[in-house]
């Protein structure tokens, strides 16, 4: 049984001119436990919306998103929040760290909505990403590469089954991007988490043994402005 199994997934938005536009229309998609897959797609192709739907940040209009035994598409918002906190780790392009919190607090807070804050585990995961000496630093006191490592640590702290990474290297220089990517892949492998990464960067996609074109999965791609 796959970890993630999507069928007939659709999401539409109403544009400012009142027109209903389908952004995501994925008939079938699956991801095995521990699998690492990269999806290629241009800006505006609906990749982020697709990840938001899987994470339950957005509610699907129709279709199913089976995460293990639970269908994210059928759950109410509070249940989606809980499932996201417990099963999914999310890495953003802009890191989305909380600026008023230290590295350790960012990780602890991420854990607290899931199984619960565990200081030892949070410290261990920060040490794993090479920030054991920056536990009490604030994001503004870190380089962009270090900030992304905090984001990786936060995503991994709950030992998620699935990690979603949305252009995780988009804000990093080549060296940091390469390191961050390697770190994400290694930590996912160590934790047995599946990784679904979306990017438009060929250098990133080239690292993955398994990559697909999101436009080929998404029937709505032709309607979306690229």
């Amino acid at each position: 049984m796959p970890l993630l199994s999507i069928s007939a997934l659709q999401k539409a938005f109403v544009s400012p001119d009142g027109e209903r536009r389908v952004i995501v229309d994925v008939p079938q998609f699956g991801l095995e436990a521990g699998q690492q897959l990269a999806l290629r797609g241009e800006s505006g192709s609906g990749k982020t919306t697709f990840l938001h739907l899987i994470a339950g940040i957005l509610a699907a209009d129709r279709g199913s998103i089976l995460l293990g035994a639970q269908d994210m598409a059928k759950l109410k918002e509070a249940a989606r929040d809980r499932l996201r906190a417990e099963v999914i780790g999310y890495i953003f392009q802009t890191f989305n760290l909380l600026q008023g919190y230290t590295c350790l607090e960012n990780v602890l807070l991420g854990m607290s909505f899931g199984p619960g804050a565990d200081r030892a585990q949070a410290t261990a995961v920060l040490e794993r990403v090479g920030l054991g000496h920056r536990l009490h630093h604030y994001p503004r006191q870190l380089s962009t590469g270090q900030q992304q490592r905090v984001a990786v640590a936060r995503a991994m702290a709950n030992r998620p089954k699935l990690v979603l990474a949305d252009e995780p290297t988009g804000n990093l220089d080549h060296k940091n991007a390469k390191e961050a990517l390697a770190l994400i892949r290694e930590t996912c492998r160590e934790n047995g988490a599946a990784l679904l990464l979306v990017s438009h960067d060929a250098a990133v996609l080239g690292v993955f043994e398994d990559s697909r074109n999101f436009d080929a999965l998404n029937l709505a791609a032709k309607e979306v402005v690229s």
Binding site: G41, E42, S43, G44, S45, K47, T48, T49, H52, A55, I57, L58, E77, A78, D81, R82, R84, A85, E86, Y90, F92, Q93, T94, N96, L97, L98, Q99, G100, Y101, E105, L108, L109, G110, S112, F113, G114, A117, R154, D166, E167, V198, H200
Partner: protein, 401 residues
């Protein structure tokens, strides 16, 4: 732990607005508690002040003026009581004790009151409490130009035993109205926390015969302080002087007459209380405005929290809790503001009346005002909390790809 951490970090991130808003709440809370406590305490204290007497006999006029003049040493005397009238009431079978007083002079603004030593030796100004002189002092000689000073008056005038002074004519101080007589201070009263503390006491004969006073009124007194043998005697004398007679006024019971004053100025208390409530309401609205204005800056953090799995009700609760926390901080400081305000007000009341209020004494308002204020602040947080609740995570966390 999570909510507490979110609230603490948010308060710290918006430190300036947190401090300013908490200070406005502190002032409002301090004002609210001050108005309430001063109102309650002043009413309770003033209506209990009778320095050991049941009634006052004075010239025909207002009972309230008579009480204010002879018990609180405020206002002007409504007129004189003849020696014959004084002797009559003194020997009336219903009267246990009658102490005459005479007013009309001052010492640099502090009222000089003529009386007899029995006021200090035979009267309990409060249950079980007699006036007492500080060590080294002695009671004035009724036939000498001697004085004993209330504790507050002595401190304010800077006089001690052995010092001398010239009285000044009238109840208001006028340096040009100095009497030729010279009085010597023979004693300082220990604090009694009554209006007697702000009086310069001299023998009644001395005040009656002060140089420049009308010799024809030399045996008159300003009022007679009366202890009755029974409460029913008060009503009989009230009937005799106030209903059947028309020359004198019998003010009885003293507490009820002062209470009547408070009921007459009840509207003023209500206005003060209303103002305090409005200030509290405005400061709670300040919490709303303060947090609401920062919502644009907070929206991204809220979206991040939501993306990490925080539920809508969690971020809603965090904002309401933050508003309540600002209220709590404000009310902690409010007690400091209250003590400053109430201490100043109590000092003014003591200087004006001799009556001592005790701001440190517990009053239920010290519990319900903070509770109400914190609840009001939490209510003020509901609108920004609703904004937080409705934050759209996906659009706030853009860019999208």
């Amino acid at each position: 732990m999570t909510l507490a951490l979110i609230v603490l970090r948010s308060l710290r991130q918006h430190l300036l607005s947190t401090v300013i808003t908490a200070l406005s709440i502190a002032l409002a809370g301090g004002l609210l508690i001050s108005v309430w406590v001063v109102k309650q305490q002043s009413q309770a204290t003033f209506t209990q002040v009778n320095i050991g007497f049941d009634a006052v006999l004075g010239a025909r006029g207002s009972k309230l003026q008579l009480v204010l003049n002879s018990i609180f040493h405020l206002e002007a005397s409504p007129g004189n009581v003849s020696q014959a009238d004084y002797q009559y009431i003194k020997h009336h079978p219903a009267v246990k004790l009658a102490i005459p007083i005479a007013v009309g002079d001052n010492l640099r603004g502090y009222r000089i009151v003529g009386t007899i030593p029995e006021l200090f030796t035979d009267v309990q100004y409060a249950p079980g409490k007699h006036f007492a002189l500080e060590s080294g002092g002695k009671m004035f000689d009724p036939d000498a130009k001697e004085a004993i000073l209330g504790n507050f008056a002595a401190a304010q005038l800077g006089l001690k035993v052995g010092d001398t002074f010239h009285p000044f004519h009238g109840l208001a101080y006028n340096p040009k109205e100095q009497h030729a007589d010279i009085y010597t201070v023979t004693g300082i009263l220990e604090p009694s926390n009554t209006p007697a503390d702000k009086v310069v006491w001299i023998p009644i004969h001395g005040l009656q015969t002060m140089s420049g006073h009308d010799p024809n009124a030399a045996t008159d007194v300003s009022a007679v302080l009366i202890q009755l043998r029974s409460p029913s005697a008060g009503f009989r004398l009230d009937m005799m002087y106030n209903k059947q007679g028309n020359r004198l006024t019998f003010a009885y019971p003293i507490g009820a007459i002062v209470a009547d004053l408070f009921s007459k100025i009840g509207w003023f208390n209500q206005v003060l209380t209303l103002i305090a409530y409005l200030v509290a309401l405005v400061s709670a609205a300040g919490v709303l405005v303060s947090i609401y204005n920062s919502m644009a800056a907070r929206r991204r953090d809220i979206a991040i929290l939501r993306s990490l799995g925080a539920r809508r009700r969690t971020v809603f609760g965090a904002v309401v809790l933050e508003a309540a926390a600002i209220g709590l901080l404000g009310m902690i400081v409010a007690f400091g503001a209250y003590l400053v305000i109430a201490t100043v007000v109590a000092a003014v009341i003591r200087a004006q009346t001799g009556v001592v209020l005790t701001p440190w004494t517990y009053d239920p308002v010290m519990l319900w005002a903070p509770a109400a204020m914190i609840a009001l602040c939490a209510a003020g947080g509901i609108v920004p909390a609703w904004v937080a609740y409705r934050t759209d995570v996906a659009s706030t966390l853009a860019p999208s790809s």
